[in-house]
């Protein structure tokens, strides 16, 4: 028997508003459609009414999880137009915050994935470890979300020696629980049965549909802006880009878990080699010069792109934010086809969607 099954925009398995229509034949999904736009706030338009400093505050509110990524990428665009060179220490502090953000975001997703498949003890274990990262972010920036670490021309807050040592210790402390999490993820039968061969996105489809970030890397596509087009100070760090070929939900779990190790590797290098010097240029409210810049940052969910147009005034002439979920969400119907209704929630969640980012 065939019927249409609606999921969302408000549904227990969804953290954010999105609507999916599943066209089913019995328990099997034959086709699917995804509808977004429930959270469209016109942030790009609001940015044209604000100056560069106000826009930093605004773009941080695009998303509660990757807020630093938005401010970081926007600031890079303005700095590129105005030809501002960020002091090395400021650039390192931005990277430290970005990698802590990636860690907490990946822990958050891994926990939610376990919760959706019914492995709640694992969910609680992962979120317990995530608290350590959240505490560090709070100590570093003063906030658990919307860190406000970025200003035009550098970072807003410095790291003293005590905090530097504390974050380095935390990198050591995270190693054992992360090993345990990866071991459980790789060997647990419940996780394997719910994720292996489920929601497959082939390499060919990932390339054609333009998938980004860990979602693409789980389909065998080696794509990471930090390596492909290094920016800020990422060229200073030695790290790997985990790539898995199977393209299923299991691969997405593995890629994100392995990426946590790489973030820790970057954090350690950044903290051990933190350069001396100023953290910012003390830039007052800048006029955004005539020109245009496109900047990219590897946010936790994939490549985040900002385009800024300046017209030699304080306000932005045009700001465009293109988020990874914009590319990853349209791949969902392709992954749903041929799977069962029971796996739909997990498959949608497996791209680590952020609809507040997507809708802007």
């Amino acid at each position: 028997m065939s019927y249409i099954l609606p999921i969302g925009p408000y549904h227990p398995a969804l953290e954010e508003p999105v609507h999916a229509k599943l066209y089913t034949e019995g328990e099997v999904i034959k086709d699917a459609e995804v509808f977004v736009g429930y959270n469209h706030r016109g942030i790009e338009k609001l940015a044209t009414e604000r100056n560069a400093i106000q826009t930093l505050v605004l773009v941080e509110r695009v998303c509660g999880i990757c807020s630093h990524s938005h401010a970081f990428t926007y600031a890079m665009a303005v700095e590129q137009i105005n030809q501002i060179e960020v002091p090395k220490r400021g650039a390192y502090l931005r990277v430290i915050t970005a990698e802590l953000e990636r860690l907490h975001s990946h822990f958050l997703w891994l926990g939610i994935a376990c919760h959706i498949i019914g492995h709640d003890s694992m969910f609680m274990h992962i979120w317990d470890e995530r608290e350590l990262v959240m505490d560090l972010l709070e100590k570093l920036s003063g906030n658990r979300v919307n860190y406000a670490m970025v200003t035009i021309g550098g970072a807003r807050r410095d790291v003293d020696d005590d905090l530097r040592r504390e974050i380095l210790d935390a990198c050591d402390k995270l190693k054992a629980p992360l090993d345990r999490i990866v071991e459980i993820a790789l060997t647990d039968k419940t996780i394997a049965m719910r994720t292996k061969g489920v929601g497959v996105l082939t390499r060919e489809d990932a390339v054609r549909l333009g998938a980004l970030g860990p979602h693409a890397r789980a389909s065998g596509v080696n794509i990471d802006v930090r390596k492909d087009s290094p920016y800020s100070c990422y060229e200073d760090f030695d790290f790997d880009v985990p790539v898995v070929d199977s393209g299923d939900v299991f691969a997405r779990v593995v890629v994100r878990a392995l990426e946590c190790y790489e973030s820790i590797k970057i954090l350690r290098q950044a903290l051990e080699n933190l350069p001396e010097g100023p953290i910012n240029l003390g830039t007052k409210l800048p006029k955004i010069k005539e020109g245009m810049a496109v900047t990219r940052h590897e946010a936790p969910r994939g490549q985040l792109t900002y385009m800024v147009v300046g017209d030699n005034s304080f306000n932005n002439y045009r700001v465009i934010a293109h988020v990874p979920s914009y590319k990853n969400t349209p791949t969902v119907p392709h992954m749903l086809r041929g799977n069962t209704v029971a796996d739909a929630g997990l498959i949608i969640a497996s791209i680590d969607p952020c609809f507040s980012c997507l809708d802007r």
Partner: protein
């Protein structure tokens, strides 16, 4: 400190599809399609491709009807094209716009189309203030 390079290339609308086909053949990512009304009041549509480590940005200026590259880049092009259609009223030939992406369902009949262009927030605020003063 490394800066990401950005290369702006002006093209005619006839070149949109050939450029997309060439890029797709080389498995180059379509970073984004975006648009804005430039200072001369003309629509500027930009097609950004990731020719790593550079972003090659192909700009088409002054066109309100352009061919869709949805056939070539699938949803990676269709979604941003639908967004530009909703926000700026640009027509993408061959693109299915029967469903809304971001703006309200009744957008096509009543509101939304071109709203971003013609109603700056500052103007809206001024109108609201005047209306409040009158009442």
């Amino acid at each position: 400190m490394q800066v990401q390079e950005y290369k702006k290339i002006m093209i005619d609308k006839d070149q949109i599809v050939p450029v997309a086909e060439r890029m797709r053949k080389k498995e180059i990512w379509l970073t984004m399609i975006h648009g804005f009304v430039n200072k001369e009041g003309q629509m500027e549509i930009c097609y950004d491709y990731q020719v790593e480590p550079v972003i090659e940005s192909y700009h088409v200026v002054g066109e309100m009807t352009v061919p869709s590259i949805g056939e070539i880049y699938d949803v990676a092009a269709q979604w941003p094209e639908r967004e530009i259609n909703e926000l700026f009223g640009v027509t993408f030939e061959g693109l299915d716009v029967s469903k809304r992406l971001f703006l309200p369902e009744d957008m096509l009949e009543t509101q939304g189309k071109g709203q971003i262009m013609v109603t700056p927030l500052s103007e809206l605020r001024r109108l609201n203030r005047e209306e409040a003063e009158e009442t």
